[in-house]
Symmetry: C2
Subunit: 204 residues, 2 copies
DNA sequence: CCTTGTGAAAAACTTCACAGCC
DNA sequence: GGCTGTGAAGTTTTTCACAAGG
């Protein structure tokens, strides 16, 4: 077999596992048990065992999972084992924060292009990358850039997203508070910080 | 009955409904159908009808849901009908972006306090609010501040979060790439942007 | 026609419990 | 003793199908 079909919910948790296992790895541990991970992630251990079982039995009974193998497998499934180039659209306050965010490295992401609309910003540098005119995206796909971080105002998001798709982008992390209507083959993940905050009062 | 028990997944979708219905409201529509919302949100219409049915039958058959009533009900369930005060911890690049983010208003959130550790920042203003020393949180709970946005480095997040809980905060939106170990009564929502990006290559 | 509201069916996911192995 | 891996059981969530109403 290649791998069994991996449930959506499991895929959604893999990046969390990656982060937690990386942490354990940095501490120098060779093995990690499902209990340990469960505690760290506020989950139950059978859940983790089941998730990991979807991509092959490589845990060692009585000991746990070999940390390096585990990292490799998760990266392999998520296709993070080769560095992923990404473009950032929007060099406003949020764009600046993203451009200098160190956390992307853990997942092998590299922001290699930054675009903005404002002539005042074009030509300047953020995060070591020169800001270019968003009117000239060029063929991002051909340059190996299939991911984009969209940090533009909600009013411009749909239009820019369509142009990104034309430019060969296949996946978009949308930080504007709106939905994007794009062809089904394009994967969109939207993060609306205010919306996430919106559920807190219910539980408080 | 008060309301039937609302499933977790439904609660999670309410902020999305709120955003979408607000949009329709701004366009001046009096009614919106489950189909319309479904299209806008990339969902199926029975899902939306079921979700809305959990808090009372107020849709008009043949027409749809009255937009204003719908907004009111969702706000009521989410406890967003009264303005919610929030504190922002961390005035770095991300903190600055959050302080000036206009999207919070839709949900009735108001950032009334900003804290940071750096003496260089303390005393300055962002988003119209003076930055105070994080060492002196005071009793946030007594001042009606039960929510906090945590935008500090991962290394400091756990410690600051514990102090927030002592200060009377009940819900935390954690933007640091780490898990927080806090009493169960505290609701934590973590957003790790890099992690969300992490699932894109799998689908691309 | 058009819609909502909902029980029932189906699907998806989580948890349990324990065999098997170190 | 410890831990993994997994079928089966249990739970939650989604989808369907259609009665009932405008």
């Amino acid at each position: 077999m290649r791998y069994r079909k991996i449930p959506d919910e499991t895929v959604r948790r893999l990046p969390q596992y990656l982060r937690a296992v990386s942490f354990v790895h940095k501490q120098g541990c060779k093995y990690v048990s499902s209990q340990e991970l469960a505690e760290r992630l506020h989950m139950k251990s059978p859940q983790i065992r089941k998730d990991l079982s979807y991509f092959g039995a490589f845990g060692v009974k009585g000991t746990g999972y070999p940390v390096e193998t585990l990292l490799g497998r998760i990266r392999e499934i998520l296709k993070l084992n080769t560095p992923q180039k990404a473009a950032l659209i929007g060099a406003g306050r949020l764009g600046k924060a993203l451009a200098s965010y160190p956390g992307f490295r853990l997942y092998g992401f590299d922001i290699v292009e930054v675009f903005d609309r404002s002539p005042r910003k074009i030509g300047r540098k953020i995060g070591g990358v020169e800001i270019k005119d968003v009117a000239h995206l060029g063929d991002l796909g051909k340059r190996g850039i299939r991911l984009a971080l969209l940090a533009v105002p909600a009013g411009a998001a749909q239009e820019v997203a369509e142009r990104l798709v034309e430019a060969g982008v296949r996946g978009i992390l949308n930080l504007a508070p709106c939905y994007l209507k794009l062809p089904k083959r394009i994967k969109v993940v939207t993060i609306d910080i205010a919306m996430e905050l919106g559920i807190l009062p219910y539980y408080v």
